[in-house]
Protein backbone atom coordinates (compact mmCIF):
# COMPACT_ATOMS: atom_id res chain seq x y z
CA UNK A 1 0.00 0.00 0.00
CA UNK A 2 1.91 2.82 -1.49
CA UNK A 3 -0.37 5.67 -0.40
CA UNK A 4 0.41 5.04 3.28
CA UNK A 5 4.11 5.72 2.72
CA UNK A 6 3.20 8.94 0.96
CA UNK A 7 0.94 9.96 3.83
CA UNK A 8 3.89 9.65 6.25
CA UNK A 9 5.91 12.00 4.06
CA UNK A 10 3.05 14.50 3.95
CA UNK A 11 2.66 14.39 7.73
CA UNK A 12 6.37 15.01 8.23
CA UNK A 13 6.41 18.05 5.92
CA UNK A 14 3.17 19.50 7.27
CA UNK A 15 4.27 19.19 10.91
CA UNK A 16 7.58 20.80 10.10
CA UNK A 17 5.92 23.75 8.37
CA UNK A 18 3.39 24.15 11.18
CA UNK A 19 6.10 24.20 13.83
CA UNK A 20 8.12 26.80 11.93
CA UNK A 21 5.06 29.01 11.77
CA UNK A 22 4.11 28.51 15.43
CA UNK A 23 0.88 26.86 14.46
CA UNK A 24 -0.51 24.21 16.78
CA UNK A 25 -3.39 22.90 14.73
CA UNK A 26 -3.78 22.39 11.00
CA UNK A 27 -7.35 22.25 9.70
CA UNK A 28 -6.72 21.28 6.08
CA UNK A 29 -3.95 20.13 3.77
CA UNK A 30 -4.33 20.76 0.05
CA UNK A 31 -2.54 18.41 -2.34
CA UNK A 32 -1.91 18.61 -6.08
CA UNK A 33 -2.13 15.08 -7.44
CA UNK A 34 -1.41 14.43 -11.11
CA UNK A 35 -3.75 12.17 -13.05
CA UNK A 36 -0.94 9.79 -13.97
CA UNK A 37 1.00 10.02 -10.70
CA UNK A 38 -0.10 6.47 -9.70
CA UNK A 39 -1.52 7.84 -6.45
CA UNK A 40 -5.14 6.82 -5.97
CA UNK A 41 -6.96 9.75 -4.29
CA UNK A 42 -9.45 7.58 -2.36
CA UNK A 43 -6.66 5.44 -0.91
CA UNK A 44 -4.71 8.54 -0.03
CA UNK A 45 -7.62 10.09 1.87
CA UNK A 46 -8.32 6.78 3.66
CA UNK A 47 -4.71 6.44 4.78
CA UNK A 48 -4.68 10.10 5.70
CA UNK A 49 -7.67 9.78 8.04
CA UNK A 50 -6.11 6.83 9.80
CA UNK A 51 -2.64 8.33 10.20
CA UNK A 52 -3.49 12.02 10.70
CA UNK A 53 -5.85 11.33 13.59
CA UNK A 54 -2.96 9.78 15.50
CA UNK A 55 -1.21 13.17 15.48
CA UNK A 56 -2.36 15.77 17.99
CA UNK A 57 -1.71 18.62 15.55
CA UNK A 58 -3.64 16.95 12.71
CA UNK A 59 -6.71 15.56 14.50
CA UNK A 60 -9.70 16.03 12.19
CA UNK A 61 -7.51 17.75 9.59
CA UNK A 62 -9.04 17.43 6.15
CA UNK A 63 -7.03 16.32 3.11
CA UNK A 64 -8.22 18.04 -0.05
CA UNK A 65 -7.05 16.90 -3.45
CA UNK A 66 -6.73 18.99 -6.60
CA UNK A 67 -6.43 16.71 -9.58
CA UNK A 68 -3.94 17.94 -12.16
CA UNK A 69 -4.83 16.78 -15.68
CA UNK A 70 -2.10 14.92 -17.54
CA UNK A 71 -0.93 16.62 -20.73
CA UNK A 72 1.64 15.24 -23.16
CA UNK A 73 3.60 17.34 -25.64
CA UNK A 74 4.64 16.09 -29.06
CA UNK A 75 8.06 17.23 -30.26
CA UNK A 76 7.33 16.24 -33.85
CA UNK A 77 4.28 18.40 -34.52
CA UNK A 78 4.29 20.62 -31.43
CA UNK A 79 0.79 19.78 -30.24
CA UNK A 80 -0.30 19.09 -26.67
CA UNK A 81 -2.88 16.43 -25.93
CA UNK A 82 -4.72 14.49 -23.24
CA UNK A 83 -2.34 11.78 -21.96
CA UNK A 84 -4.98 9.59 -20.35
CA UNK A 85 -6.95 9.36 -23.60
CA UNK A 86 -4.08 8.98 -26.11
CA UNK A 87 -1.04 7.74 -24.17
CA UNK A 88 2.44 7.90 -25.65
CA UNK A 89 1.45 8.20 -29.34
CA UNK A 90 0.52 11.66 -30.63
CA UNK A 91 -3.09 11.60 -31.94
CA UNK A 92 -2.27 14.38 -34.43
CA UNK A 93 0.75 13.00 -36.23
CA UNK A 94 1.31 9.49 -34.85
CA UNK A 95 4.77 10.30 -33.47
CA UNK A 96 6.22 8.59 -30.37
CA UNK A 97 8.55 11.48 -29.72
CA UNK A 98 6.41 12.81 -26.89
CA UNK A 99 6.88 13.68 -23.24
CA UNK A 100 4.74 14.32 -20.20
CA UNK A 101 4.25 18.04 -19.63
CA UNK A 102 2.28 17.67 -16.39
CA UNK A 103 0.20 15.13 -14.55
CA UNK A 104 2.88 13.40 -12.50
CA UNK A 105 2.64 15.69 -9.44
CA UNK A 106 2.46 14.47 -5.87
CA UNK A 107 2.79 17.83 -4.24
CA UNK A 108 1.70 19.57 -1.06
CA UNK A 109 0.17 22.83 -2.27
CA UNK A 110 -0.74 24.53 0.99
CA UNK A 111 -2.11 24.07 4.46
CA UNK A 112 -4.93 25.88 6.23
CA UNK A 113 -4.56 26.79 9.85
CA UNK A 114 -7.01 28.37 12.23
Amino acid sequence: MHELGIVFYIIRDVKETALQNNVNHVSAVVMNIGEVSTVIPEYLTDCWRWAADKEEMLKGCELRINTIPAVTRCDTCGSEYDTVRYGKKCPHCGSDDTWLLCGNEVEIKEIEVT
Partner: protein, 233 residues
Amino acid sequence: MLYQFTLKPMTDVKIIEIKKSVFADNDKDADALRSELKRRGVYLLNLMSAPGSGKTTTLIQTLNRIKDRIKVAVMEADIDSDVDAVKIKEATGIPSIQLHTGGMCHLDAEMTRQGLDNVSMDGVDLVILENVGNLVCPAEFDTGAVRNAMILSVPEGHDKPLKYPLMFTVCDLVIINKIDVMPYFDFDLEKCREYIHMRNPEARIIPICAKTGEGVDVLADWLVAEVQNWKQA
Protein backbone atom coordinates in the same frame (compact mmCIF):
# COMPACT_ATOMS: atom_id res chain seq x y z
CA MET B 1 14.14 24.87 5.81
CA LEU B 2 13.94 26.97 2.73
CA TYR B 3 10.32 27.05 1.66
CA GLN B 4 8.66 30.26 0.67
CA PHE B 5 5.74 31.04 2.92
CA THR B 6 2.99 33.41 2.10
CA LEU B 7 0.51 34.15 4.82
CA LYS B 8 -2.78 35.27 3.29
CA PRO B 9 -5.54 36.10 5.76
CA MET B 10 -8.87 34.67 4.57
CA THR B 11 -11.80 35.09 6.93
CA ASP B 12 -10.42 33.32 9.99
CA VAL B 13 -8.29 30.73 8.20
CA LYS B 14 -4.72 31.36 7.29
CA ILE B 15 -3.19 29.66 4.32
CA ILE B 16 0.43 28.69 4.31
CA GLU B 17 1.71 27.86 0.88
CA ILE B 18 4.17 24.94 0.67
CA LYS B 19 4.26 23.88 -2.99
CA LYS B 20 6.70 21.06 -2.55
CA SER B 21 6.88 17.60 -4.04
CA VAL B 22 6.32 14.81 -1.53
CA PHE B 23 9.41 13.09 -2.95
CA ALA B 24 11.71 16.10 -2.64
CA ASP B 25 13.21 15.16 0.75
CA ASN B 26 13.81 11.60 -0.32
CA ASP B 27 15.44 12.71 -3.57
CA LYS B 28 17.82 14.87 -1.56
CA ASP B 29 18.60 12.04 0.89
CA ALA B 30 19.21 9.71 -2.04
CA ASP B 31 21.66 12.09 -3.72
CA ALA B 32 23.53 12.50 -0.43
CA LEU B 33 23.77 8.74 0.01
CA ARG B 34 24.96 8.30 -3.58
CA SER B 35 27.81 10.79 -3.06
CA GLU B 36 28.77 9.16 0.20
CA LEU B 37 28.91 5.72 -1.44
CA LYS B 38 30.94 7.17 -4.29
CA ARG B 39 33.46 8.48 -1.77
CA ARG B 40 33.67 5.08 -0.11
CA GLY B 41 33.89 3.24 -3.42
CA VAL B 42 30.81 1.10 -2.78
CA TYR B 43 28.52 0.42 -5.73
CA LEU B 44 24.87 0.00 -4.72
CA LEU B 45 22.55 -1.89 -7.07
CA ASN B 46 18.82 -1.71 -6.43
CA LEU B 47 17.10 -4.87 -7.67
CA MET B 48 13.34 -4.70 -8.11
CA SER B 49 10.56 -6.87 -9.52
CA ALA B 50 7.01 -8.04 -8.94
CA PRO B 51 6.74 -10.71 -6.20
CA GLY B 52 8.04 -14.07 -7.43
CA SER B 53 9.77 -12.90 -10.63
CA GLY B 54 13.00 -14.49 -9.43
CA LYS B 55 15.03 -11.89 -7.54
CA THR B 56 16.41 -14.32 -4.97
CA THR B 57 17.12 -17.09 -7.51
CA THR B 58 18.84 -14.65 -9.88
CA LEU B 59 20.89 -13.23 -7.02
CA ILE B 60 22.14 -16.67 -6.03
CA GLN B 61 23.19 -17.53 -9.59
CA THR B 62 24.88 -14.17 -10.07
CA LEU B 63 26.66 -14.12 -6.71
CA ASN B 64 28.23 -17.49 -7.38
CA ARG B 65 29.68 -16.14 -10.64
CA ILE B 66 31.05 -12.87 -9.28
CA LYS B 67 32.07 -13.58 -5.68
CA ASP B 68 35.63 -14.54 -6.62
CA ARG B 69 36.08 -11.42 -8.75
CA ILE B 70 34.65 -8.67 -6.52
CA LYS B 71 33.60 -8.44 -2.89
CA VAL B 72 29.83 -8.42 -2.57
CA ALA B 73 27.29 -7.93 0.21
CA VAL B 74 23.50 -8.33 0.08
CA MET B 75 20.64 -6.49 1.77
CA GLU B 76 17.27 -8.21 1.83
CA ALA B 77 14.06 -6.23 2.02
CA ASP B 78 11.77 -8.40 -0.08
CA ILE B 79 9.93 -10.04 2.77
CA ASP B 80 10.06 -9.43 6.47
CA SER B 81 11.14 -12.94 7.45
CA ASP B 82 14.70 -14.05 6.83
CA VAL B 83 13.96 -16.96 4.44
CA ASP B 84 15.60 -15.23 1.45
CA ALA B 85 18.63 -14.25 3.54
CA VAL B 86 19.06 -17.84 4.76
CA LYS B 87 18.64 -19.21 1.22
CA ILE B 88 21.31 -16.88 -0.12
CA LYS B 89 23.74 -17.68 2.68
CA GLU B 90 23.30 -21.43 2.14
CA ALA B 91 23.66 -21.26 -1.62
CA THR B 92 26.52 -18.76 -1.90
CA GLY B 93 28.15 -18.38 1.51
CA ILE B 94 27.53 -14.67 1.32
CA PRO B 95 25.89 -13.21 4.42
CA SER B 96 23.03 -10.84 3.84
CA ILE B 97 21.43 -8.52 6.28
CA GLN B 98 17.67 -8.50 6.62
CA LEU B 99 15.91 -5.14 6.58
CA HIS B 100 12.56 -5.00 8.31
CA THR B 101 10.25 -2.81 6.31
CA GLY B 102 7.30 -3.28 8.65
CA GLY B 103 5.01 -4.04 5.73
CA MET B 104 5.99 -0.93 3.78
CA CYS B 105 5.74 -1.27 0.04
CA HIS B 106 9.14 0.20 -0.74
CA LEU B 107 12.45 1.32 0.73
CA ASP B 108 13.39 4.96 0.76
CA ALA B 109 16.88 6.44 0.92
CA GLU B 110 16.82 6.81 4.71
CA MET B 111 15.86 3.14 5.25
CA THR B 112 18.57 2.12 2.80
CA ARG B 113 21.15 4.17 4.65
CA GLN B 114 20.16 2.61 7.96
CA GLY B 115 20.46 -0.81 6.36
CA LEU B 116 23.91 -0.03 5.00
CA ASP B 117 25.05 0.98 8.48
CA ASN B 118 24.62 -2.67 9.42
CA VAL B 119 26.62 -4.06 6.52
CA SER B 120 30.29 -4.48 7.23
CA MET B 121 31.59 -2.54 4.28
CA ASP B 122 35.22 -3.32 4.73
CA GLY B 123 36.62 -3.75 1.23
CA VAL B 124 33.15 -4.28 -0.22
CA ASP B 125 32.87 -3.29 -3.90
CA LEU B 126 29.22 -4.01 -4.49
CA VAL B 127 26.08 -4.08 -2.35
CA ILE B 128 22.97 -5.55 -3.93
CA LEU B 129 19.65 -4.55 -2.45
CA GLU B 130 16.76 -6.95 -3.03
CA ASN B 131 13.91 -4.45 -2.83
CA VAL B 132 10.31 -5.19 -1.85
CA GLY B 133 8.43 -7.18 -4.51
CA ASN B 134 6.30 -4.46 -6.09
CA LEU B 135 6.36 -2.65 -9.43
CA VAL B 136 4.81 0.65 -8.43
CA CYS B 137 6.16 2.08 -5.21
CA PRO B 138 9.87 1.28 -5.36
CA ALA B 139 10.04 3.06 -8.72
CA GLU B 140 9.05 6.33 -7.09
CA PHE B 141 11.46 6.26 -4.22
CA ASP B 142 15.10 6.74 -5.14
CA THR B 143 17.15 4.57 -2.77
CA GLY B 144 20.46 6.24 -3.52
CA ALA B 145 21.59 3.34 -5.71
CA VAL B 146 24.07 3.84 -8.56
CA ARG B 147 21.86 1.77 -10.84
CA ASN B 148 18.37 0.37 -10.80
CA ALA B 149 17.71 -3.08 -12.19
CA MET B 150 14.46 -4.95 -12.51
CA ILE B 151 13.43 -8.46 -13.34
CA LEU B 152 10.51 -9.12 -15.64
CA SER B 153 9.61 -12.80 -15.81
CA VAL B 154 8.06 -14.39 -18.88
CA PRO B 155 4.71 -15.35 -17.27
CA GLU B 156 4.08 -11.68 -16.48
CA GLY B 157 3.75 -10.87 -20.19
CA HIS B 158 5.70 -8.74 -22.66
CA ASP B 159 3.36 -5.76 -22.24
CA LYS B 160 4.42 -5.02 -18.65
CA PRO B 161 6.45 -1.96 -19.73
CA LEU B 162 3.23 -0.44 -21.04
CA LYS B 163 1.44 -1.05 -17.76
CA TYR B 164 4.18 0.10 -15.40
CA PRO B 165 5.88 2.90 -17.34
CA LEU B 166 7.70 4.52 -14.42
CA MET B 167 9.43 1.31 -13.32
CA PHE B 168 10.84 0.82 -16.82
CA THR B 169 11.83 4.47 -17.09
CA VAL B 170 13.98 4.36 -13.94
CA CYS B 171 15.69 1.03 -14.69
CA ASP B 172 19.08 0.89 -16.39
CA LEU B 173 18.96 -2.88 -16.64
CA VAL B 174 16.00 -5.14 -17.37
CA ILE B 175 16.57 -8.84 -16.76
CA ILE B 176 14.05 -11.05 -18.54
CA ASN B 177 13.83 -14.18 -16.42
CA LYS B 178 12.23 -17.62 -16.80
CA ILE B 179 12.97 -17.85 -20.51
CA ASP B 180 12.68 -21.64 -20.07
CA VAL B 181 8.90 -21.29 -19.96
CA MET B 182 8.75 -19.16 -23.12
CA PRO B 183 7.15 -22.01 -25.15
CA TYR B 184 4.16 -22.05 -22.81
CA PHE B 185 3.40 -18.35 -22.90
CA ASP B 186 2.86 -16.06 -25.88
CA PHE B 187 5.72 -13.86 -24.75
CA ASP B 188 7.15 -11.80 -27.62
CA LEU B 189 10.75 -10.92 -26.75
CA GLU B 190 11.15 -8.46 -29.63
CA LYS B 191 7.93 -6.61 -28.71
CA CYS B 192 9.12 -6.55 -25.10
CA ARG B 193 12.45 -4.96 -26.11
CA GLU B 194 10.57 -2.39 -28.16
CA TYR B 195 8.27 -1.47 -25.24
CA ILE B 196 11.18 -1.24 -22.79
CA HIS B 197 13.10 1.04 -25.15
CA MET B 198 10.04 3.26 -25.53
CA ARG B 199 10.37 3.95 -21.80
CA ASN B 200 14.13 4.06 -21.66
CA PRO B 201 16.12 3.97 -24.91
CA GLU B 202 19.34 3.31 -22.98
CA ALA B 203 18.11 0.29 -21.00
CA ARG B 204 20.28 -2.82 -21.17
CA ILE B 205 18.21 -5.99 -21.61
CA ILE B 206 19.51 -9.43 -20.59
CA PRO B 207 17.36 -12.57 -21.00
CA ILE B 208 18.16 -15.35 -18.53
CA CYS B 209 16.89 -18.53 -16.93
CA ALA B 210 17.78 -18.28 -13.26
CA LYS B 211 16.67 -21.86 -12.75
CA THR B 212 19.32 -23.37 -15.05
CA GLY B 213 21.77 -20.47 -15.13
CA GLU B 214 21.39 -19.84 -18.87
CA GLY B 215 22.38 -16.27 -19.72
CA VAL B 216 23.58 -15.50 -16.20
CA ASP B 217 27.22 -15.32 -17.35
CA VAL B 218 26.30 -12.30 -19.47
CA LEU B 219 24.64 -10.69 -16.48
CA ALA B 220 27.57 -11.45 -14.18
CA ASP B 221 30.14 -10.07 -16.64
CA TRP B 222 28.06 -6.95 -17.21
CA LEU B 223 27.83 -6.35 -13.46
CA VAL B 224 31.54 -6.85 -12.75
CA ALA B 225 32.47 -4.51 -15.62
CA GLU B 226 29.94 -1.94 -14.41
CA VAL B 227 31.38 -1.91 -10.91
CA GLN B 228 34.97 -1.72 -12.13
CA ASN B 229 34.25 1.10 -14.59
CA TRP B 230 32.37 3.05 -11.96
CA LYS B 231 35.21 2.70 -9.47
CA GLN B 232 37.72 3.96 -12.01
CA ALA B 233 35.58 6.86 -13.20
